[in-house]
């Protein structure tokens, strides 16, 4: 398990845990980033991070990405 901020571009990951306050966790969940969800890291080149899966794409600030713990999935 590692923070999403350390994932590499192109990698598929599964979300394991959301840290941070209630409001933030609910917001992430409602936007589609909930524990158990599988997403592809579309861009992580040191700036902000983009993740997506069929039908949606989300941009996350660095600070936000550090609060999201993920594990790699092999597709």
């Amino acid at each position: 398990m590692f923070p999403l901020s350390l994932a590499t571009s192109g990698q598929w990951v599964q979300i394991c845990d959301l840290r941070g306050g209630r409001g933030v966790r609910m917001k992430l969940s409602q936007m589609g980033l909930f524990p158990g969800q599988v997403v592809q890291v579309i861009l992580n080149d040191g700036g902000p991070i983009v993740v997506g899966r069929d039908g949606f794409q989300l941009g996350l600030g660095k600070g936000m990405a550090r609060q999201i713990y993920v594990k790699p999935v092999t597709s």
Binding site: S9, R25, M31, G32, P35, G47, G55, Q57, G59, M64
Partner: protein, 676 residues
Amino acid sequence: MVMQKGMTVALAGNPNSGKTSIFNALTGARQHVGNWPGVTVERKEGHFTYAGVHVTVVDLPGIYGLTSYSLDERIARDFLLHGKPDLVVAVVDTTNLERNLYLVLQLLELGVPVVLDLNMMDEIARKGIEIDTVALGQALGVRVVTTVANQEEGIEALKEAIVESEQHHPAPTFKLDYGPPVEEEITRLQNMLERSTNLDGYSSRWMAIKLLEGDPEAQRQLKGQPQEEEIMSTVMAATVRLEGRLEDGDIEMALVERRYGFLNGLAKAIIRRKTGMERRLDISERIDRIVLNKYLGIPIFLTLLWGAFQLIFTLGGPVADLVDAFFTWLGEASAKGILALGAPEWAASLVADGIIGGIGSVLVFLPNILLLFLVIAILEDSGYMARAAFVMDRLMHALGLHGKSFIPLILGFGCNVPAIMATRTLSSEKDRILTILINPFISCSARLPIYVLFAGAFFAQAQGLIIFSLYVLGIIVAIGTALLFRRLFFAHEIAPLVMELPPYRLPSVRSVLIHMWERSRLFLTKAGTIIAITVILVWALASLPPGVEYASEASLIGGLGRLLAPLLAPAGFGFWQAAVALFFGILAKEVVVGTLGTLYGGEATLTVAIQSAFTPVSAYAFMVMSLIYIPCIATIGAIRREAGWRWALLSVTYSLLLGWLLAVIIFQLGQLLRLA
């Protein structure tokens, strides 16, 4: 006479689900834009009649859920509970079914009757996906309609479903099973709530679930009820029990996972993918890898911004000259016409100098403003604006701002009023207020006329550079203020950024034009109302008392100006005309030019008149003063509505002092340099 039946329908859906297209397709031009009670969030209402039923459609803000954490979600929730719509049409982006249905689940749990609209069905077909809509409708207990909103497909069927729902009164039957430990507690709470509490429209099951989630709004609802303490202690006991029994001990997240678990199962049952259509990087993702690149992101953004300004000024300039020529002609012609009719000189002066001169000097900028809003509409509709906020996030953080603060700042170049309203997308109240407070320093289009007039009169060689320097100064003041206020009032962590990046699309001409028009209309109504009235007032005050020479020092307005002028002397423009112009400029900044135009007798002589009244240094000081000295009335009003009286007062005082101080410093420095 046949009684016409009426019903109210609310449109709910995620941002970017095509909700607005559905709204436009349903109601056509029969729309009305107002505000939600108590907040300045736009409330759109429209109408249509189908099979003899008159339907009012209310467009709810785009939301992801019904928590009470964000303003938009609270507004939607309040309307669903207290606005008592007869039906909710849930608009769903079918390409992203699971997440969109999450909101639908919450609507169903709330107990409101729902018609489900699967939108963007054309993209589904293109992706080779089939959806069993019958099974979906059965699983959720709702009627399902499919649409392609931007091509107006399926709209008639949607109307039919809406109107028919009135006859069937579809009671929501859907109930999500949260599993034994949670269900036990829900039932226990539900029984207590039903016995003792006035639920005020909330279903007892919804209320029980929200109390278990620890929702602050639900707790507030309970406040003051006879059994409040007993219920809250039951909630506490239930929470303790559940935390022990659930895997990771977090009830709220457990419920979220349960809902998504159900949706995942549902999606598997109803979605069929044709084989051989693997997920590939789509075009949006390819573009994003370049546009959002660590090194390329900011240069690309700046290039686009530079191109936009080029377009606005090079294309807008010649058109503005035409408008200018038209008003000069209109003023002269109407004065002649009025005199020829035998009307007195003052009537001709009122029309020519006062009304046409004043309003004309403002409307000259309409082409620039239309183009500015056109560019903003294109950036927004294409999907780039969201990326720009994202690209700027790191830079904004360094300045103590949030990435999302950036969009309101860009909008501020058009007009600070809609820009301040746009801050509501910021979820942290502190980030939002800070963004509001620095917005007036972003030089809006209303200030442009002042720069163009003075830069043209004094710095003809370097006009562009001088105007550009004022824009930059505004940005510097905004940044300095952000850093200062962050330290003084808002010492806290900046809320982390998460935002949807909608797929890039070619903006449709129609929607871009609608957007542009909606925003420019504000400028036009302002020119027709506040500016027109002020200009006439200035003209009247300049003509009174009777017999006084028009716009002379002995007139009423001259007296007002003389009163204020000494305050402005240290800044180099301590004469009454400048004081009067700045005074009335508080109503709207265009009025500064309009007033000078009225006082110095029309546009033609204006340039010569100010050349003799100002020096280049005092002219620059005057422009700086005009940029900063106070937000206009409409902006102050927007600040008050969005942030409250105290912040509006602070904004006024701070900008008055700062504007005066900077103007004085510039003038005095200029004098020193000249002496040296």
